[in-house]
Symmetry: C2
Subunit: 522 residues, 2 copies
């Protein structure tokens, strides 16, 4: 199995003709072969047209057929074996164990949606039966289902080369919904992307589905992404990346003759509130914090970038322990030179800010593109007055905001933008204070945690990986967990439609596991 | 009970200080007293601040409490009695029977959401229980619910002075979700709005809820609406009106520092396909068509503005009968002078177009602002070449597109923008052809009907009043029916949160009717 540096358009593999992207080994600052010449406008058009042509056929496949597709993708990914892990390591600088775990999550994710399709209520079927003898007017037979939006453009993310990339959560949920997918492969891991893309190609073929169900394109710069989002055949967008990138895509999507939804996960500093009771007990809070902060060089959307606590002896002791622990953390290679230089810049801004104290730095770097962790502190007044300090620093940096009292801590929270997560460390004695700020956290975040760190994101039914702007562009959804499928669906009502025309799931003889809600009665 | 011409801000009633709006009796072109001076910036701020202050308290009221609020609003509206109907008649020109029916629908709508709150699955509760002994890592306890977005700005619509105005579908679904509402009263029926607004005020007070749960503002021109949508305390918008108006609000909402969702229902010509089999049988199709077209002077979002059929003897006979029937229809007063002049203009464009034939007009007008129905015809080629002919003409005008064959009919459908409805008139013999275009209709419309006219919109669980752009700004939702509540909700996940902090519905002791889905098992 060799990497060919090709675009995957339906079942074909073609060399692009535009400026190429290259993987880079960030641990050595070395270009990786092969190069991936970019998609031309004609390539983009072809992928979108194939997706559009495949849509009507794909969306009426049975849930079982789509479950089989998702399971086949998972198996094909596993079948690549060690070469996939090695290539992902080379391209991302992430450790092997992490990538093996991430592959497991990726396949679990695909299988979660397969399970949902087999048994879940993902189509929200509703039937209000006809009432022919109702007066003054009879009622028609009304049937309701969610149907897929149409072809979806998925943008691979750099920080999860498997779980949020070519066959990641966006792709899995879009395919589950019945939407063909056109992926813009992340330029940081084109080789990993090609192999995973070929796994999907094989699964599409072995399941006997139409070519256009899946394509994978590469392109340098922003032109490919912009063209995809502007293409009239694309009906929704899944994106994980920077705030600037997400905002640009939202702008394009809204300016189309037909605006489309963009699900962009963009920016979150994930405030963690350390109550005094919890600090007094500690019980692993310090260790947990440093582990969570430095996990994967801090390159998680849910990295704890902001600690809030009331100043005093408890906080001082926590910070001195945490600083000590942090200073022993070795530097880890970051995903790309670009991410590394953005981290360096973000940390430099913190370090140079007159109101910010540097509490601790991790071990010095020993190679290129390494992340030296950092712990910084600022008084709440200064934090409130400097919105610049509210920005995400992607990597293992955390800013501690020390507050005069809980009233001020609440003020700080009020100032924050929308977040993916908000976390409380508390014990029984903190309950009254936690109660007071809890409603605020519900308004600010998509997930609220008590006494555990936000970096672990379970892929289950009750997970929400989303949140108010700018955490995401659309707080009404999640990008992780089974309810992510809802992003790519819209309701359609069928009024007095003859059985022969109804979708199978709404026929009286409904062959699927999903049962409709009749007259609203659950 | 007299009308005072006041803004209702929380429980207060105050005279505005800006340029006033006046009701107009469209049947006589007469200004109606009192005047309604517009809201100042300070009034807007106050209403939004009250709504924002009320949010946390309102959203944690029990479903039962909110059900009682909705039922109290319905009772208060009914208690106004005949004066409300008379005022609505004066302001809208709509007949008494229609307004009595519309009041019934309005109250049913409020009670539908009350019923949903009492027993429905509107919060989509999910629990993935903790797995403390899972390896390699234990799983946290994860609980999921939909929570309300925050204060909602609702724009009253002119064409449903009761059912889509102050206490209409948007208000009912937003209040049901737990969102405080600030209504911009439609300037065409301020008196009706004041009375309904006061009914809501009384209901809010009698239910012991916070003032800010509801406010009603008036204002001339676009400034009030723009200020409301731009206000950072407003978190979502419900709007029914013109395409231009809806697009302007979408633009403002997207340009905010924190973009918010806009649910704008804007424009639909509701294509009706008359298959030959159905035309041969007729069986009331002609009569049904003319009744649907002229109902309420055609001022329905779901008015059948476009008929598609294959040219031939069957179509000719249908058109000659429909034309004859139409020519006997009396002219009806339209809602406002503005709507009437837009109708006249739209009809003039059709009549003057070289490719369009005027098949029939209804009876001549006998008073101001009357709608003289119109039936027009164009060949499919010309229709395809003239996108101008695809525009909605709001009122009792219909354009018949005659197609060479079914392939061309399909071409015409492909050219259409998104629609609220698409309708098939067909019999058994038409089934193969209907099957061929059905997938296209699913992609284009929010509701598909067979052998009935789209103007009746049931308020039930399976209804979809929505559709792809520009029918609405957000095809993922409906503005009629119980699933409209989903527009004003977003998911939140609670991870390992102590029982004392969990929302009641997610506590182990959940006191409500709604049961969570455990581990995805329905």
């Amino acid at each position: 199995m060799i990497l060919e540096g090709k675009l995957l358009i339906g079942q074909s593999a073609v060399r692009g003709t535009e400026a190429a992207v290259h993987g880079v080994n960030p641990a050595k600052n070395q270009l990786l072969e092969p190069d991936y010449p970019g998609a031309s406008q004609a390539d983009i058009e072809r992928a979108c047209q194939l997706a559009s042509d495949a849509f009507d056929g794909f969306r009426i496949t049975s849930p079982l057929q789509r479950a089989e597709l998702l399971e086949a993708i998972a198996s094909e990914i596993e079948a690549i074996g060690q070469p996939l892990i090695e290539r992902a390591q080379l391209e991302s600088g992430l450790p092997e164990a992490r990538l093996i775990g991430e592959r497991g999550r990726t396949c679990n994710q695909l299988r979660l949606f397969a399970g949902l399709l087999r048994s879940g209520a993902w189509q929200e079927l509703r039937i209000d039966p006809a009432l022919p003898s109702r007066t003054p007017l009879p009622r028609s037979d009304l049937r309701y289902q969610l149907m897929p939006l149409g072809p979806v453009a998925v943008f691979g993310a750099s920080n999860f080369p498997l779980a949020f990339s070519v066959a990641g959560g966006d792709t899995a949920s879009a395919l589950a919904a019945g939407c063909p997918v056109v992926v813009k492969g992340h330029p940081a891991h084109p080789g990993t992307s090609e192999w995973v893309g070929r796994a999907i190609q094989r699964a599409v073929a072995s399941c006997g589905l139409e070519d256009g169900v899946f394509s994978l394109l590469f392109g340098e710069g922003n032109a490919l992404g912009q063209a995809l989002v502007a293409d009239p055949r694309i009906k929704a967008v899944g994106f994980t990346g920077s705030r600037g990138g997400g905002m640009a895509l939202m702008q394009i999507a809204q300016s189309r003759p037909e605006p489309i939804p963009v699900y962009a996960e963009m920016s979150s500093i994930n405030p963690v509130i350390l109550f005094n009771g919890a600090l007094q007990q500690d019980e692993g809070v310090t260790q947990g914090f440093v582990t969570s902060l430095t996990l994967g060089a801090g390159q998680f959307c849910t990295n704890p970038g902001l600690l809030l606590a009331v100043e005093g002896a408890e906080l001082n002791q926590f910070l001195s322990q945490a600083g000590e622990l942090l200073s022993t953390q070795v530097a880890q290679t970051m995903l790309t030179p670009g991410i590394h230089s953005a981290y360096e810049q973000g940390v430099a801004v913190l370090a140079a800010h007159p109101a910010v104290t540097t509490l601790a730095r991790g071990c010095s770097t020993t190679g290129p593109n390494q992340c030296q962790p950092g712990l910084f502190q600022v008084q709440a007044d200064a934090f409130i007055q400097n919105p610049l300090l509210h920005n995400e620093v992607f990597g293992a940096a955390c800013l501690v905001v020390s507050c005069r009292d809980y009233a001020q801590l609440k003020q700080v929270l009020e100032q924050l933008e929308g977040q993916l997560t908000a976390t409380l460390f508390m014990d029984e004695s903190d309950l009254p204070r936690a109660k007071e700020i809890f409603p605020l956290l519900e308004r600010k975040a998509g997930r609220i945690l008590a006494n555990s760190w936000p970096t672990g994101v379970e892929v289950t039914h009750a997970m929400v990986h989303g949140g108010p702007f700018p955490a995401t562009s659309d707080s009404r959804s999640t990008s992780v967990g089974s309810s992510a499928i809802r992003r790519f669906q819209r309701p359609v009502c069928y009024q007095d439609i003859p059985d022969a025309l109804l979708p199978d799931s709404l026929k009286d003889s409904n062959p699927y596991a999903m049962k409709p809600v009749i007259d609203g009665a659950h």
